[in-house]
């Protein structure tokens, strides 16, 4: 989230698209009801299904899954055509006026430079024209036909309301009503918030869905303001923490990136990461990258990370491919190239697409370790459960070790919520049976491995032998110790940069925050963006002061938000070029002539003059990007693409399937279905009664939603002779499931490009362990392909067929 959950109460318009906040985030959704009750805010829902969120909305418009870009491009075009743009904001705070290279263009659904063999673009033309001074050439009058604004208008031209209806199946009048309501938020005194989740990310072009809305929000002037923003509703109480702490194969902590094979030494690595400003006087905060990176290396390897060994840069593995994401790992496992797999707090058998492939992949492992508080299907993947898990147990030789862990309520620690708040929690109970904290288990594995490396050596034991492990009890680091390490501390006395005779931070003391980190090895810090979480003031994540002066929704005394306890990112954009709030009644910050003051921690140097320094300090431009240069693999503007499995052809290029640059493994190509064999558009989602695959282990949740089902329209039910509550079989090119049918008015066929499209809704949550009735998940059916930029699987749009059937059978004893 750019903003916070509590800030949603400040909005005038909530747009829930690509998510179902009431269903999947009922507690956070309270802030929508607050906005409605206190500000008269309106709620719009755009979704293939009439959801629980839609049931409390002011306006609902249906959309075919996977066509959000066309819809949003249509709204952007509507706003521009109807002069509903926050012009002053857009001109000053985006790159609209920047001039783009001549070669760049878009035709037949593709940008310049496409290579069908490599499934990749040559992105050299996707860039700005730079002047002799190294800065971007601009035209503040927006007259130059090659400026970003004019290229954007040209790009959006095809997305008329008629085209939106043709692609999305959204009736024109409903689209126009939504566009009109959204466009009203171009007023500096009206704001809109975008609440989205996996409905946007789980597409082969998920990142572009989100970009399209971010661009719309920039045109409307809604980023950095109260009640505005791009608010990703994270699907798991600590999934924000997962990405922040770099638990992705291409990331280190705090969005520092893993080196690749090209980064032969530290100097080379740094040369592509310390971004220089592209406009005069801009902050370009990543210029501090080296401080964060060296401090990270010191946190990892202490005294073994020294200037003369490149700060132990070679201890970090170097990527030979863009990422070892979950799809690639399971593809490698499927190919028999993985020996062992440690599966911590994860249920891949039901979480990753193409379940049959996952089963086969896990069956090729020598060993599998699961660490989980619950009996997961993954831990039991070898067990025959009749139709529910039809494996031949004797043929599976994988040795499985189940290590029971504690659950969140049995341990101290912090959870990072969607709004970037690190909230400390305390153990509320003692662990049952043999359950151990994850930290204990990992420590045991580490200590035993280190001992083996010490005794037996190995190809390169140094990173293991030299890892710092400075905990009171090496067998079990405490949550507090880890939090302090993440905050960072001074390793030698740090002298004050403005007065070298004074000690700023004494050796051994916690740094105040990341502004005190150094690149000379005198500081260590586990995760720079979190720094400030546990400093000499104490555990700031444990703060529980709920005062909120002037009811702004900031709650600065409650927990700790990264970075620097800032609650709204880009908050300098809440004020105009003179530093006055766009909406005085919703002030966040104000320039008092010498510094920024207000309700939030300024997202800019406190003394940076408003007319000089742009609000988007993490960007080299200082502005936000309507045109992303070559930073995204699938294009600098969001363009309509169809899912890999789509009921209709791409209207811009009927030959094109899916995202033209998504990675597709060879064995998966044959497993993609076509609409003649699989005519129905399937989508997957969560239900409020359950949380992932956890709560089916709980009797109460199981009673409230006991059994796996799929949802279809009354029209499709009639066509297929399916009765409400009857058994159906649903199958795709990759698998087959049996489910109860819920026949509902909440799903209606959509008319797309002249033909009716029937939607089949498939909730997750069921498996073959736990209290609920045994069932299946959508992953038995979904395709093994991900987003071109981040590899999130395409769970929200694929093709299936459906027929009436009999009940699935349990295993016979």
């Amino acid at each position: 989230m750019t903003n916070s959950w509590t800030d949603i109460k400040n909005t005038d318009l909530v747009v829930v698209m690509g998510g179902n906040a009431a269903e999947a985030h009922p507690c956070g959704f309270k802030w929508v009801t607050e906005a409605k009750a206190n500000r008269g805010a309106k709620l719009i829902v755009v979704d293939p299904r009439y959801t629980r969120t839609a049931s409390v909305s002011d306006y609902y418009a249906p959309i075919r899954q996977g066509t959000d870009i066309a819809f949003l491009n249509g709204v952007m075009k509507y706003c521009i055509d109807n002069d509903k743009v926050q012009w002053e904001y857009m001109k000053a705070f985006t790159n609209a006026s920047y001039i783009v290279k001549d070669g760049f263009g878009y035709k037949d659904g593709l940008f310049t430079g496409y290579d069908p063999e490599k499934r990749d673009y040559d992105k050299s033309t996707w860039d700005y024209v730079l002047g002799d001074d190294g800065f971007v050439t601009t035209d503040p009058t927006l007259q130059n036909p090659r400026c970003v604004w004019n290229l954007l208008k040209e790009h959006l031209a095809p997305y008329t309301p008629e085209m939106v209806e043709r692609i999305c199946g959204t009736p024109k009048d409903k689209f126009l009503k939504v566009a009109e309501m959204i466009s009203e938020c171009s007023s500096p005194t009206k704001t809109m918030t975008s609440m989205y989740a996996l409905g946007w990310t789980q597409h082969s072009y998920g990142s572009q869905n989100i970009r399209a809305m971010a661009m719309l929000q920039l045109i409307l002037g809604n980023i950095g303001v109260r009640g505005g923003g791009m608010n990703a509703l994270r699907g798991h109480s600590n999934i924000q923490g997962l990405t922040d702490l770099g638990l992705m194969s291409h990331l280190l902590t705090g969005y520092l990136t893993m080196p690749t094979e090209k980064d032969v030494d530290f100097t080379t690595y740094m040369s592509t990461r310390q971004f220089k400003p592209l406009r005069p006087g801009q902050t370009s905060y990543w210029q501090n990258y080296r401080k964060f990176m060296v401090s990270f290396q010191k946190a990892m390897w202490g005294d073994a990370a020294r200037a003369d060994n490149d700060w132990a840069f070679n201890y970090i593995p170097k990527l030979d491919v863009p990422s070892y994401d979950v799809l690639r790992m399971f593809e490698l496992m499927y190919q028999g190239k993985v020996n062992g797999y440690i599966c911590q707090g994860f249920n891949p058998l039901l979480a990753f697409p193409n379940r049959d492939k996952n089963t086969e992949a896990l069956s090729k492992l020598k060993w599998l370790i699961t660490m989980d508080p619950l009996e997961t299907e993954t831990a039991r993947f070898w067990e025959n459960h009749g139709d529910f898990n039809p494996v031949d147990t004797v043929s599976i030789q994988t040795e499985v070790f189940q290590l029971p862990t504690t659950c969140f309520a049995e341990e101290d620690g912090s959870l990072t919520n969607s709004g970037r708040w690190l909230q400390w929690h305390w153990a509320g109970g003692t662990p049952p049976g043999e359950a151990q904290h994850d930290t204990y288990i990992i420590a045991q594995i580490f200590l035993r491995m280190r001992e083996l490396y010490r005794k037996e050596g190995g190809a390169f034991p140094d990173p293991i032998l030299n890892m710092s492990w400075d905990y009171a009890d090496p067998n079990e680091p405490t949550a507090e110790e880890l939090a302090k390490e993440i905050n960072g501390r001074a390793l030698t006395d740090l002298m004050d940069p403005t007065d070298p005779t004074k000690v700023q931070v004494a050796a051994g003391k916690q740094v105040l925050n990341f502004s005190q980190l150094r690149d000379d090895g005198s500081t260590m810090c586990g995760c720079w963006i979190y720094s400030g979480n546990f400093n000499e003031q104490g555990n700031n994540m444990a703060r529980r002061d709920n005062h909120d002066p002037d009811d702004t929704g900031a709650y600065l005394g409650w927990s700790f938000a990264w970075p620097l306890n800032r609650r709204t990112l880009y908050n300098r954009a809440s004020a105009d070029l003179q530093g006055r709030p766009w909406d005085p009644s919703r002030k966040l910050l104000e320039w008092d002539g010498s510094k920024w003051t207000g309700y939030d921690i300024p997202d800019i140097a406190p003394t940076a003059k408003p007319e000089d320094v742009g609000p988007f300090i993490m960007n080299q431009e200082g502005t936000a990007r309507l045109f992303t240069r070559g930073m995204m693999r699938d294009g600098p503007f969001p363009a309509h693409m169809e899912p890999f499995e789509s009921p209709v052809a791409n209207v811009f290029n009927p030959e094109m399937r899916g995202n033209p640059v998504s990675r597709v493994f060879e064995t998966d190509v044959a497993q993609m279905g076509l609409s003649d064999e699989f005519p129905y558009a399937a989508t997957s989602y969560r239900l409020t009664e359950h949380f992932h695959y956890w709560t089916k282990h709980n009797r109460v949740n199981s009673a409230l939603q006991p059994e796996f089902f799929v949802e279809i329209s009354e029209e499709l039910a009639k066509e297929k002779n399916i009765g409400n509550g009857g058994w159906v079989r649903v199958w795709s090119k990759r698998g087959s499931v049996k489910a109860k049918a819920v026949v509902t008015k909440r799903i209606r066929p959509l008319m797309c490009d002249g033909k009716p499209v029937h939607v089949v809704g498939i909730p997750l949550h069921w498996g073959f362990t736990g209290s609920a009735k045994k069932g299946f998940g959508p992953n038995s059916l979904a395709p093994f392909v991900g987003d071109a930029n981040i590899e999130t699987p395409e769970y929200k749009a694929f093709l299936v067929n459906i027929e009436p059937s009999t009940a699935p059978q349990e295993a016979t004893v």
Partner: protein
């Protein structure tokens, strides 16, 4: 200290406290003709369920199960989101989902109503109950079942205009929402209201709840719901569980919520008869129930029981047509 909690969202008192709902606060007691007048009048309380704010998350159902420590069975899907499919002795409250196409706009509306005991000011269940002290009403409005006095005859179901109580197949006693009388007695609001993430369920004095409803209705009217209103049906003397409905002109669209609930004529007559010959009649029924209990069978109301009861009523007060 206040005699009843004013909200469900505040945290409970941390000190143990005496129950504030006692025998002396009863204003009605089933099959009991002479009840001492309470020395004090507790502030009437109410739970307000704003259907327009409800997202159907079932947190209320979950909280109800947890607080009352019931064990609803894990059933099957029969084509609806309503689970279990009806109120049971283990499920005192239930989200009922209705897909309704508004004929005026042709738009679908997904109406989600939390069903459960309405805590009528004029409780039909209590009036129908022949077992002394099995159903009681406190001066704050809460209608509660006292299970040790229940004979499982099922007359309360007959008497209830909302079809709420359910007889346990295990102990043959009647169960329903207590409005968390055990929580309210010690300064806490009902568990469902405490758990509700959108505060669609709120709790307080009946007066405060009516005021809150007024604000909500004004908001709904501003959003085009011209018939938004408060459901506090006069036919049962008003209720201590009230709804804000977007379409208060047709409550029946919300999973058959009665448009104009009334206590059945039979029960009204029964109420009359208790004043004269009721005690003897109840003695008979109660004895029958005990026999049933001995043989371990559910004490359902049989057609002949019904007939006998009506005969008794007729003989005592003269036959009346059910209005």
């Amino acid at each position: 200290m206040m005699d009843s909690p004013r909200t469900a969202v505040s945290n409970p008192p941390v000190q143990p406290m005496e129950s504030n709902l006692t025998e002396r606060d009863l204003i009605r007691r089933s099959a009991t003709s002479e009840l001492p007048t309470p020395e004090r009048q507790l502030t009437p309380v109410a739970k307000l369920i704003d259907v327009s704010k409800c997202i159907g998350c079932k947190a209320c159902q979950s909280a109800c199960v947890e607080w009352n420590d019931t064990h609803p069975e894990i059933g099957a899907n029969v084509g609806y989101y309503t689970n279990p499919h009806d109120l049971t002795e283990d499920m005192f409250t239930l989200m009922r989902f209705t897909e309704w196409v508004n004929p005026e706009t042709d738009n679908l509306e997904w109406l989600i109503r939390k069903d459960g005991c309405m805590h009528c000011a004029d409780p039909g269940c209590l009036k129908a109950c022949p077992a002394p002290g099995a159903i009681v009403q406190y001066s704050n409005g809460i209608v509660d079942f006292v299970h040790e006095n229940c004979i499982g005859c099922g007359y309360c179901i007959k008497g209830c205009p909302f079809n709420i109580p359910r007889i346990s197949k295990v102990d043959h006693r009647a169960y329903k929402c207590t409005l968390c009388s055990d929580r309210v007695a010690v300064g806490q609001g009902p568990a469902c209201a405490k758990a509700c993430p959108t505060q669609a369920i709120v709790f307080g004095t009946k007066e405060d709840m009516k005021k809150h409803a007024d604000d909500r209705i004004a908001d709904l009217k501003s959003r085009g719901y011209a018939n938004a209103g408060l459901y506090d049906p006069p036919g049962v003397g008003g209720t201590h569980v009230m709804y804000v409905l977007h379409h208060n002109d047709k409550p029946h669209i919300y999973a058959d919520l009665p448009d104009d609930p009334k206590i059945s004529g039979v029960v009204q007559a029964w109420k009359g008869v208790t004043k004269y010959t009721g005690l003897a009649a109840m003695g008979l029924v109660a004895a029958g129930a005990i026999l049933h209990g001995v043989f371990g069978r559910a004490n359902r109301v049989q057609p002949e029981d019904e007939e006998n009861a009506e005969k008794l009523v007729d003989s005592a007060a003269g036959h009346r047509e059910d209005a």
